[in-house]
């Protein structure tokens, strides 16, 4: 059966009072952005729900695309037909047959907007229920917990039949929660943290530190590729790459080994906070989770967080690694994250980093280096790329190869 329309129900935004209009507008924009590859699809955001008219575009692909959009609670694909009881009966029966498995129960759920329609809601329920009951052998009625719930809406412009409810991504539309930066390393955690930040409506700019020649071009491309996967959930993402070689080399030379990592992290956060401020963003997200590695103990966080008053937000802070991995598989970043390229966090790691760095000592050791100069040179040399959903970075010869293949 080919669906003609998708009705989208809003998630939490129905509770958001005065901001409601802005939320709906933003969601409409985001849905349009996600569906831009289907030129004839029409998106109409309304007060209580959003209508997507398919105009013969591929329903399966549109459904897949909608499943990634935050701010959607659920949606149900439906078929628009003539307001004529014979046609309605035929389509409802077909739908029931398609979904019927041995012993299944069903229910007809009618909404009648057009009060001039020849039957009222109860009559429609009865007529259609009887029809299905007598034409599908073995089916029975259960109005409380049906296996198959067929929804019939009699609207002014036609009858709409649907039976499948598809869960949306939930959350809030990206862009309604302000703008923040994300420190993206390329591991498993930071893409998941990005996803969770986006889910709460935050528009994210990526900050990625790279240290050539200690890290290869591949590590940078991997971070960009991860960004392109995450862009599917939010639309284009600004990718800011920060050269970090000089900072790391200086720290390695001047700072005692036990504090290498702490001072590196302090410098990263300093730079990230400065970029965040320059771009009028209001926070820095990180993928840190308590206790995972030396830099992610409470003491370490205290010693690192010391460098800024900018909110540092850690969506994963109390999550278990297994749960993080599960999300990363669901959002399709896991396979990329585990590609074995060195990133700037894994080089220059001392054999025994301090898990409980001392704040005073951190400040003291940091004074050995020219903080302002290093920061300025790093920030002056940042490079910003606008990354679109699905863009390819890891295999840039893809098109050349496609001709060979």
């Amino acid at each position: 059966m080919h669906y003609t329309e998708i009705m989208v129900r809003y998630g939490e935004l129905s509770t958001k009072g005065k901001n409601r209009k802005d939320f709906i507008k933003q969601l409409g924009r985001n849905v349009r952005a996600v569906l831009h590859q289907f030129p004839t699809v029409e998106v109409k955001p309304q007060r209580d729900r959003l209508h997507v008219t398919l105009n013969n575009e591929d329903d399966k692909q549109v459904i897949t695309a909608l499943q990634g959009v935050f701010g959607i609670e659920n949606f149900y694909p439906s078929i628009q037909i003539d307001k004529d009881m014979a046609t309605i009966k035929k389509v409802v029966l077909q739908m029931a047959r398609e979904q019927y498995t041995s012993g299944a129960t069903f229910k007809i759920n009618t909404r009648r907007q057009d009060k001039n329609f020849e039957y009222d809601t109860n009559q429609i329920n009865n007529i259609l229920g009887d029809y299905v009951l007598s034409n599908v052998a073995g089916i029975s009625v259960d109005v409380k917990h049906p296996d198959i719930a067929i929804r019939v809406e009699i609207r002014m412009n036609g009858a709409f039949i649907s039976s499948e409810i598809i869960h949306g991504a939930g959350g809030l539309p990206v862009g309604t929660g302000g703008r923040a930066t994300m420190m993206l390393s390329g591991g498993i955690d930071s893409p998941v943290a990005t996803y969770l930040a986006m889910k709460r409506g935050v528009k994210i700019d990526m900050i990625h530190f790279y240290s050539p020649p200690y890290t290869g071009e591949q590590a940078l491309n991997k971070a960009k590729q991860l960004t392109s996967v995450l862009a599917k959930y939010s639309g284009n993402i600004q990718f800011i790459q920060v050269p970090f070689t000089e900072v790391q080399e200086t720290i390695k030379e001047k700072v005692p080994e036990g504090y290498l990592m702490t001072i590196q992290r302090r410098m990263m956060l300093r730079i990230a906070a400065q970029i965040t401020q320059d771009r009028h963003c209001s926070g820095v997200f990180t993928g840190e989770a308590l206790g995972q590695v030396a830099s992610q103990t409470l003491e370490s966080m205290l010693a690192i967080n010391d460098v800024t008053t900018m909110p540092v937000l850690r969506p994963l802070v109390s999550m278990d690694k297994e749960d993080i991995i599960k999300i990363s598989k669901d959002i399709k970043t896991f396979d990329l994250s585990i590609l074995p390229f060195e990133d700037c966090c894994t080089i220059f790691t001392p054999p025994a980093p301090k898990t409980r760095p001392n704040l005073e000592k951190s400040r003291k050791f940091e004074a050995y280096i020219d903080v302002d100069g290093l920061m300025k040179r790093a920030i002056d040399n940042i490079k910003i790329t606008d990354i679109k959903a699905g863009e390819e970075f890891l295999n840039q010869d893809q098109d050349v190869f496609a001709e060979l293949l």
Partner: protein, 381 residues
């Protein structure tokens, strides 16, 4: 020249050879090298894998490259035997398998495994009832060919898959060396199959290429141990020019598949209609949907298979005795034998195997030559 021996091997397509050459010239890095020249090779390798997976509607991590069909069959059979030896040592296969399967089984037999060879009917087909009866608690593998290489029978792999759903622990392997682009992909990739072996040179890719499909979550021991290529399942530096060329060949043959099958059926029909009129001709391959479109096996009573092959060869028409792989050993056909065809007829059998490059014109030339030769044979006997 009329080449009617496409089940033995096929001609490498010019565009496929072009890919082979270009990759050899330009992308000759080792996919395992760290530098970006190696990375480029790695990317091409993975893109080839992805293309093949997409064309066959499977996941790319389910494709493992091999050196050909023989390796694929050996790997799945022995790899299963090694991995599952603690669960049982009983294997079921058919009595009409290619030597790559049959001889692997025979080797396992010497190592203490028990092999059940399923009998076939007079069309060379096993019955699922026999398969069901043969299954035991210690059965670890069922290996069935998709299309018989000698007479073209399509084996009931889909029905076997249905049956094996009740035995989820058994590995189900399909030897599909003859089966690509013959209109049975859906049957091969049924929802129960665990492993499938393919060979590149049967579909216009270069020799020494092939791959197996291995369902996610199903494990077999590697036979090639070494540098850890193919996720440590099949070591050895990847034959990248061959792999890229094979990915292209699959795309090309699948594009041409519907038209090619239709024409092969027409050619096969024309030839069988013609030769069936002759008294001494026995045809083993039907032309319905239970037989592959491209294989026609027949015998001329009283004339040895080799004699027929050499007679046609004088007219530059190339056909074969039943299986090229065993035809030099003068053994009569294993499949016909299993079908209980009398020995004097089996030794007279020859095989025509068509490809997407054959034409109806060639079929007409073939039957003209056939008439002449038949007359000569008739006089001699």
């Amino acid at each position: 020249m009329i080449y009617f021996d496409n089940s033995a091997t096929t001609k490498v397509l010019p565009e496929v050879l072009d890919t082979y050459n270009k990759v050899s010239e330009r992308v000759w890095g080792n996919p395992s090298s760290l530098h970006n020249f190696g990375e480029q090779a790695f990317n091409l390798l993975e893109q080839s894998r992805k293309q093949i997976a997409n064309l066959l509607h499977v996941h790319s991590d389910e494709i493992y490259f091999t050196s050909g069909g023989t390796e694929g069959d050996n790997w799945v059979i022995k790899g299963t035997a090694i991995t599952k030896r603690e669960f049982g040592k009983h294997i079921i296969t058919t009595s009409v398998e290619h030597a790559a399967v049959h001889n692997s089984m025979e080797q396992l037999k010497q190592l203490g495994y028990e092999i059940t060879y399923l009998p076939v009917d007079d069309e060379g087909r096993i019955s699922v009832a026999d398969l069901k009866q043969a299954i035991r608690p210690d059965t670890i593998l069922v290996s069935i060919m998709a299309i018989n290489n000698e007479i073209g029978t399509i084996e009931p792999i889909q029905e076997a898959g249905e049956l094996l759903k009740n035995y989820p622990k058994i590995h189900f392997h399909i030897d599909a060396v003859q089966g690509l682009a013959k209109g049975i992909q859906e049957m091969i990739f049924n929802d129960r199959v665990d492993f499938v072996a393919f060979s590149g040179h049967k579909f216009h890719a270069p020799r020494g290429t092939g791959f197996i499909y291995g369902r996610r979550g199903r494990r077999i021991a590697p036979l090639m141990n070494g540098g850890g290529q193919e996720k440590n399942q099949r070591s050895g530096t990847e034959n990248l020019p061959g792999i890229a060329a094979m990915a292209k060949a699959i795309r090309l043959v699948l594009e041409k598949e519907p038209a090619a099958i239709k024409r092969e059926r027409e050619i096969k029909q024309l030839i069988s209609d013609h030769i069936s009129k002759f008294e001494k001709v026995v045809i083993f391959s039907k032309n319905d949907d239970r037989f592959a479109p491209h294989i026609l096996c027949f015998a001329i009573k009283g004339v040895r298979g080799e004699t027929i092959v050499h007679a046609f060869e004088k007219y530059h028409i190339y056909i074969s005795t039943t299986s090229a792989c065993s035809s030099k050993s003068h053994a009569e056909s294993g499949t016909l034998n299993a079908m209980k065809v009398p020995e004097n007829i089996a030794t007279s059998a020859v095989r025509i195997s068509l490809g997407d490059q054959n034409t109806l014109d060639e079929a007409k030339q073939f039957v003209d030559v056939f008439d002449q030769l038949y007359e000569e044979f008739d006089k001699l006997s």
